[in-house]
């Protein structure tokens, strides 16, 4: 029987990745709030409890620090926990267990113990969720060493990256954009495949300017690039970082050395965000190739606003277009 690729949403691709891996590796357990019978509030774990039983897929009491803290114990004692935090904003509740514990088990024990833990969490705005449900936290994790941070932008990547995250012997934060969850379908091979953590994808090649982005800003950047290409004939390269830590410096340096111009696009706040690190990598490695300042198209340095205001907070196609135009000017 040959398996044929089906078109899946990110949610379906993630569900498939989880099922595939749980089938292969009996050590994998899933825990979180409402992930069992309810299949998670976004249904990423739909059907998995019925299939793998309550010992391998279980609902926890509502306590994020408890979820991560016990996951660390599960991981240290030989299991492969995949913890869901219902919305990434609530990772702040568990921040100590993530940063001072999960990220340091290996160093603290000089390698005697390690913590193969995946923390999955939906993040990002655009669907009018309540307070703290839309925050993008990836930038915070740049300053909390010991973690890896993955943000897929497509169903294909979601599956391959999640499998890599599960395989990884160290803690991985796996952030899933809510708006992308069901926004489009893509062919996803039914068999197992991995996409290495720490490798960016060049979504389109170009020679005049580089867009460095990830997550929900990938389609926004693509639309903007399309518009500007049509309008000006500029040749635009688009890099999807996919993993923001470790960051694929090579990909950034190679591209910007070639194009001499770059913009960074993400939804998280600007100050000290992924954009700042990208600018700094360019500064460190290819400043002399740079023809114009790198444009930073990001959320503002305010708390993520009330749902009624989110549309003007999240970078839009027109903001990206504007940044491209300005950066392309001589």
């Amino acid at each position: 029987m040959t398996l044929t690729a089906t078109k899946l949403t990110i949610i379906e691709a993630l569900n498939q990745a989880l099922a595939t891996e749980m089938e292969r590796d009996q050590r994998i357990v899933l825990l979180g709030e409402d992930i069992g019978k309810n299949g998670g509030v976004f249904r990423v774990t739909d059907g998995l409890q019925a299939r793998f039983g309550e010992d391998r897929v279980f609902d926890t009491p509502l306590a994020e620090s408890g979820i991560i803290g016990t996951s660390i114990g599960l991981a240290v004692n030989g299991l492969r926990p995949i913890a869901e935090i219902q919305f990434a904003g609530f990772m702040f509740v568990a921040m100590n267990q993530i940063v001072s514990q999960a990220a340091r088990i290996r160093t603290r024990s000089a390698g005697m113990y390690h913590c193969p833990l995946v923390i999955r969490a939906p993040y990002g705005g655009g669907i009018r969720t309540p307070e703290m449900h839309a925050d993008s936290l990836e930038g915070v994790f740049l300053q909390t060493p010991g973690l890896k941070v993955v943000l897929p932008s497509s169903p294909y990547d979601a599956k391959g990256l999640l499998i890599s995250a599960i395989e990884d012997p160290d803690p991985v934060i796996f952030l899933e954009n809510i708006k992308l969850y069901r926004s489009f379908k893509q062919e996803v091979p039914p068999e197992r495949y991995t996409i290495p953590l720490g490798q960016a994808a060049t979504l389109q090649e170009g020679s005049d300017i580089t867009i460095i982005t990830y997550g929900a800003m990938v389609p926004v950047s693509q639309q903007a690039a399309h518009k500007v290409q049509e309008e000006t004939g500029a040749s635009i390269e688009i890099i999807d970082l996919r993993t923001i830590w470790p960051m694929d410096e090579e990909a950034i340096i190679k591209s910007v050395t070639k194009t001499g111009r770059a913009i960074v696009v993400h939804e998280a706040p600007r100050a000290g965000g992924v954009n700042s690190e990208v600018v700094s990598i360019i500064n460190d490695n290819c400043l002399y190739s740079l023809l114009k300042p790198v444009a930073r198209v990001t959320g503002y340095d305010t708390p993520f606003p009330s749902p009624g205001l989110e549309d003007s907070y999240i970078p839009t196609v027109s903001r990206v277009v504007k940044a491209l135009r300005q950066t392309l000017e001589d």
């Binding site: 309810n38 509030v41 609902d59 509740v93 009330s306 003007s312």
Partner: protein
Amino acid sequence: MRKDELETPYQIMDPAGKMLGAMPEGLTNQKLLEWYRLMWEIRYYSNKTVALQRQGRSTTWGPLNGQEATAIGMGAVLQPQDWMVGSYRDAGAYMAKGYPMKALFYYTRGFSIAPELVGQDKRCLPYQIVLATQTLHGVGIAMASRIKKENAVTMIGVGDGASSEGDFNEALNFAGVFKAPAVIVLVNNGWAISTPRSHQSAAKYLMHRAVGFGMPGMLVDGNDVLACYSVMKEAVERARHGEGPTLIEAVTYRHGAHTTADDPTRYRDPKEVEYWMQRDPTLRLKNYLVEQGVWDEEKDRQIREEVESYVNEQADIAYNHPTPGPDGMFTNTYEKLTPRMLKQREELRRELNLEAEVK
């Protein structure tokens, strides 16, 4: 009366509306009729918001139906100088404390509250989304009242699910240590989204947490407005007289979905819902009032119509109220915007003008 040894929730009125104990002091039929109306205000307010959400006008909404008796108990025992600090599910208690319905409706549109619709400070913190965090705020507020020697009590609402969060336990501990004039009402509505109370904790009753933090714990039928009032009143009086905090578990039920985004048929037996519908707090109070001869079906129809149009009016006010401009996210980040924020607001304003041009 210490109720922490109780094996069943304290009741004054049984589900059929029959009195099992004495009417709490000071309660008249007049008052009960007011509460009965208020129950419908809360319920219709919630129903209206669900309808608005279905029209794409309200954001995600968590219905209040079934929990009106607990809510009224929480609000009715407070005085204007007292504070109310609850979660999204305590909106009914806010109303019972005197928070204007239109102000609550406004918030459902997906903006921060509109102070001008609240009017004078009602000492109600905007209800909380991040589970259990508000319990610490409430205890802090109560600690401040004690330090300032103000005669104010803080009423704190928290869900059964939220009781598992570290913050809730830290709040109980601080309340105990600092003898905070606070009443913590743990609104046990049986479910935390899809997680039943039985899976939330191995304890028989959640109010058993109280003894571990050195305060009285009480268990009350949260659908019996008389019992709620009586138990909460007693706790508020204790707090007001410097005798410290109380934890009250009110056992009630969430009739509807967790929120408009939730599908309870995935995890909940319809028979359970039916069981609780028969214990509906409105039904119970109505039966009592009918029994007392002060109520009948005609009056019931009338008042529900009245309430419905009142609720619609309040919604209209709120949904026609001016909202912040698209650059409103900068307002109120700090008292004075920083140079960076002013720059970013300028950036946004320029971009909003450009929007048309680019599209």
